[in-house]
């Protein structure tokens, strides 16, 4: 594995656009190719905000710090440019696009990655799509359904992983992809992620989760705990296990002493 980080944030701060609500209060994160990082933290601590800020959501404004992706200043890039250079975020709440089939959507997304004038080979695309759907135990007819339109919670999450599998990102951010999945679906998703990483060992993964359950199937190299917009602890898989037992109480206390200071 290479030493240069694929993602490096330093003192990353962000607030809600047009409002004075600061959410990220200085996040330092360093992820190298091939690494799997888990981020855990209580509700409202800023996990989704971090994911969205990295993806370039217009609802948040970076107020300080930096974020570099593969050596380039991530914050300089538009959302779609970030995606095309290899950032992928699986949404906590995927959005429905009525009338646009998954197949059409993914075809358009892949086409957008090509140079002007280059045409996507539709047969290759069909092959890749079918193969990926099989990996995720999705029936081929699923590709003809409109994106997230009337999907169950589990179908939405699976669809996020399908997109990730087809788009082959360098950094996959998965925001609570495990929530709402039953144990069988969780295993399918985990196997999908693990298979993708086996195929492309350089793929880095940032997993946002509340549950140790997912980490039993996708083993993280590092676990971070985020509380009130800051990473308050980083370590190995044992951090997640200790959270399972003690919850966030000790960090909250830590947090209040920090605020008091």
């Amino acid at each position: 594995m290479s030493d240069a980080p694929i993602l490096k944030t330093a003192d990353l701060r962000a607030k809600v656009t047009d409002e004075e609500i600061e959410i990220l209060k200085g996040v330092d994160l360093e992820i190298r190719p091939g690494e799997i990082h888990a981020i855990m933290g209580p509700n409202g601590s800023g996990k989704s905000t971090l994911a969205k800020v990295l993806a370039g959501h217009p609802g948040y404004e970076v107020t300080g710090g930096s974020a570099f992706f593969d050596g380039q200043d991530l914050l300089e890039l538009e959302t779609d440019e970030r995606a095309r250079s290899g950032v992928f975020m699986a949404f906590q709440y995927p959005v429905a696009i009525p009338g646009v089939s998954i197949a059409n959507f993914l075809r358009t997304a892949l086409q957008a990655r090509l140079e002007d004038g280059d045409e996507l080979d539709l047969f290759d695309f069909q092959d890749i799509l079918l193969e990926r759907m099989e990996l995720l135990e999705m029936s081929p007819s699923f590709a003809e359904r409109a994106v997230n339109d009337g999907f169950s919670g589990g179908e939405k999450k699976r669809n996020e992983i399908l997109q990730m599998a087809v788009l082959e990102p360098a950094l996959a951010i998965m925001d609570e992809t495990d929530s709402g999945l039953d144990i069988d679906a969780l295993k399918v998703v985990a196997r999908g992620v693990n298979t993708l990483q086996k195929e492309r060992p350089e793929m880095a993964v940032l997993l946002i989760t509340h549950y140790q359950r997912l980490l039993n199937y996708i083993q993280p190299d590092f676990v971070h705990v985020i509380v009130d917009g800051r990473i308050v602890r980083s370590g190995g898989p044992e951090v997640a296990l200790s959270l399972e037992e003690g919850g966030y109480r000790e960090y909250r206390q830590l947090q209040s002493t920090v605020s008091a200071a």
Partner: protein, 448 residues
Amino acid sequence: MQAPAARPLEGVTATINAAAVERLAAGEPDWLAERRWRAWEAYERTPLPTTRLEEWRYTDLSRKLDLDALSPAARGPRGISPEAWPPELHQAMREDWDAAGHIVEIDGRVVHADLTSEARAQGVVLASLREAVHAHPDLLREHLAARAIPPDQGKFSALNAALWTDGTVLFVPRNVTLPLPVRITRWVSDPATAYFTRTLVIGEDWSTVSVVEEILSPNFDEQAFFLSATEVLAGDNSTTHYASVQRMGLGAFHMALYRSLVGRDARTDSLHVTLGASTARLDLNSELAAPGAHSHILGLYFGNEDQHFDHCTSQNHAAPHATSDLLYKGALDDASGSVFRGIIRVSPGAQRTDAYQTNRNLLLSEEASAHALPNLEIEADDVRCSHGATVGQLEEEALFYLQSRGLSRRRAERLVVRGFLQDVLQRRPPGSVTEKVTRAIEEKLRAH
């Protein structure tokens, strides 16, 4: 010389006048000439609609239509060979799938008609109205401007019935199925000109009929006005598929009157696509005339620049146990605007009516506007009716989702619009107009 009228007659101009009726009626059989004159009288009697009328509240004809600047189209030469047809017309026809027959109408005059020999052998009639006046007088006499759109329905039904220059009649006899559509393709080219044409579709009992009407034109510096009247008479147990695609250029005012009379246990499907012209007005009326009748109506529009579309629809339930379902969807870009005014009317005897009406609009720019005015008028008690309308904007969250997969903002917007309009087209079988309309929408989207 006539004595000047006490009050100027609204809409009677230096060229849209009795002399114009006279010229058309000369040489026509008496019954037809009489019909024209009766229509002309109705036209003279009827004031021009103003915005004080609910149906015209958002389309101010005193600003949008300058009748004084228009002259009725000359009848034109009879034959224009295909080599002389404009390339746009050829292009539109090349994009078509198979057909049972064709009518080509240029500048208000039918210049070409063909029909498969199988259809002819089964007694199907496809002809220009001018020709049918002599070849099939009984058919016209019974149905033309008589049952579905008689002149006294309004100012413009009267105008068309008085001054039509040509058009199409399609007759499909009892028990005959016409599996492929008859395609009527129209082209108009002269500015400052008013065109009046008609289409008459007669499907006898147990017949199956399919018709596609398309109109194209260049852009106009001076307004061109196109007024058509389409009458669909659907016999008992018949099936009718109808589609119209309006792709006129800017500077045109397109006004279409469409009415279907749906017989017992008959089914009519219609799709009305509005893409072109600076001003487009559609008066659509489907009359569920007998028990078991079914009318399925789809509308699709996409406006940009300063286009103004006004759709006035009516689902008239005159008989019990009939169903109607209307879905109108449109996207509006730039400074374009649309009006949808729809009404479901259920007569006192029309028990067990099932009627639905939905209008959805998607605004793609700050200046675009849409007025959605669905309405119910129910005089029976045992009915199921519903109506709904929405005017929405592009959702930021959906656009972000698409952009986060690598689509540029523009591409994301286009994909959302395409998806939004998709379900209207999905409900039509391929081969009629779906592919063509999709392409036309893509063209507009490229401008977005």
